[in-house]
């Protein structure tokens, strides 16, 4: 069945696939992970703050995000963001939001739900003696969090956070519903244009597979190293 396949189409489209597609995918992954981690940490802190209402709000947010299919969130967000922006800025018409910004905001909000659970587990894994020692030295609650608890929670959870980021890397391909040329979108555009569906989708799958495998291997190495240091 491979007789009439033309793998040269891949070679010809490599610059477009990687310089446009993959760089978009990596940028979206990286920024979403960073934003998700920051926002997620804030949510985790809210949940652990001891203020009931704050904790409830954060908990509801996490449950809400985790019970929706990501594709739907991406889709809805793309249509809602212009109106939310209009409402926030008081503009007279829906503000224009690029597909990148829209998908970035979506992923940050969605991933924050998952990252927050990881960071919450990380913070809870730090023994009570650590913040107590920080307090005894005169550090305030926020200083103790910032300089003592969070760095340790982050370090302990780094392998899990990175694993979640690998999942995120694969999930970013869902932006195809907005016809955005991420890596998969770019591959699919070439596939449609040249009528080379099998070749392009095989290649795309191989690329996702290799990158994810290499990254997972790296995470396992890191995990072993952290285990030794501790």
């Amino acid at each position: 069945m491979f007789d009439n396949l033309d793998f040269d189409v891949i070679r010809r489209s490599l610059p477009y696939l990687f310089l446009d597609g993959m760089s978009f995918t990596l940028m979206l992954t990286g920024l979403s992970a960073l934003g998700g981690l920051i926002f997620g940490t804030l949510i985790a802190l809210m949940r652990l703050s001891g203020y009931k209402l704050l904790g409830r709000i954060a908990g509801l947010y996490v449950d809400f995000m985790r019970s929706l299919p990501l594709v739907l969130v991406i889709f809805w967000f793309y249509f809602l963001v212009p109106y939310i922006g209009q409402w926030l800025t008081g503009a007279s018409r829906p503000i224009r939001v690029g597909a990148f910004t829209s998908s970035l905001v979506t992923f940050i909000m969605f991933e924050a739900a998952y990252f927050s659970e990881i960071m919450r587990a990380g913070i809870q894994s730090i023994s009570k003696g650590q913040p107590a020692a920080a307090s005894a030295l005169g550090l305030t609650y926020s200083q103790s969090m910032r300089y003592v608890v969070l760095p340790q929670a982050f370090r302990n959870m780094l392998p899990v956070l990175l694993t979640q980021t690998i999942v995120l890397f694969q999930d970013t391909s869902l932006v195809y519903v907005l016809s955005i040329p991420d890596f998969l979108g770019a591959a699919s555009k070439v596939a449609q244009r040249d009528g080379r569906l099998v070749e392009m989708y095989l290649f795309a799958a191989a690329v996702y597979f290799v990158i994810s495998c290499v990254a997972s291997y790296g995470v396992r190495r890191l995990q072993a190293r952290i285990a030794i240091v501790r």
């Binding site: 920080a134 307090s135 005894a136 030295l137 005169g138 305030t140 760095p151």
Partner: protein
């Protein structure tokens, strides 16, 4: 320096962990607190720097009321050093950074100042060569000496110790006690929860015996070890001294 009067504390609605505790520690005085496990020693000492809140009574530290809602607790705690049973060094920071963190963030000292002070104290506890290591690379005794140095770096007006040697291997106990004895001889105000009666008889001025949340005995050292005292303290003493 430390005035504890009629302190009552409950965990939950029914469990009273401290019962009408009253005592004091004068400037330059070394007071040893002992008693069976679960008697409330840690709780009492943690009330002094407000790591634990209490419901009734009051504690006054260097003229400042600890349980006054208007008291700036971080500022108050910065003035009292505390050493924990399990050292509680910050494992993600090098030894020298363990000593510098609070100096810089709480006292506002410059990094150079903090490092200079930190190095001076490391020298004092004999650990200069370990300045750039991480806590996990040090033995328990070394870690506890770092913890003492970290507390001293804040120029505390008093030091609280909560069983500083009970998590240590026996051969490391004396290196930590030596540092504490030196401190006592220099006139540091100290409140020390410990079962090291050798330390108590060497440097303590007073010994407090606690049982079931009560201060059962509060006596001058010579009285505590010598003359008649409560039956509970006697039993406890004979138990730990026979070890």
């Amino acid at each position: 320096m430390i005035e504890i009067s009629h302190v009552n504390k409950w965990y939950g609605p029914t469990f009273q962990v401290l019962k009408d505790c009253t005592t004091s520690v004068a400037k330059g005085e070394v007071v040893v607190v002992c008693g069976p496990s679960g008697s409330g020693k840690s709780t009492l000492i943690k009330c002094v720097n407000a790591l634990e809140p209490f419901q009734e009574g009051q504690i006054i530290l260097d003229g400042i009321k600890v349980n006054d809602p208007k008291t700036d607790l971080p500022k108050l705690r910065a003035r009292v050093g505390m050493v924990f049973q399990h050292f509680e060094l910050f494992p993600h920071l090098r030894i020298i950074d363990n000593l510098c963190l609070a100096q810089e963030k709480v006292l506002g000292r410059s990094h150079e100042e903090a490092v200079a002070k930190g190095n001076k104290l490391l020298e004092r506890v004999g650990l200069t060569v370990h300045a750039n290591k991480y806590p996990a690379e040090l033995s328990g005794g070394q870690q506890q000496r770092v913890a003492i140095a970290r507390a001293l770096a804040m120029d505390p007006i008093a030091m609280l110790f909560d069983e500083p040697t009970s998590a240590l291997d026996p051969e490391m106990i004396s290196e930590v006690l030596d540092v504490m004895v030196d401190l006592a001889h220099e006139g540091m105000t100290m409140m020390v929860v410990t079962h090291e009666m050798g330390f108590a008889s060497k440097v303590a001025h007073r010994v407090i015996f606690m049982d079931k949340g009560e201060i059962v005995e509060d006596a001058q050292k010579t009285d505590f070890f010598g003359s008649p005292r409560s039956e509970r303290a006697q039993k406890f003493l004979s138990k730990i001294l026979s070890h």
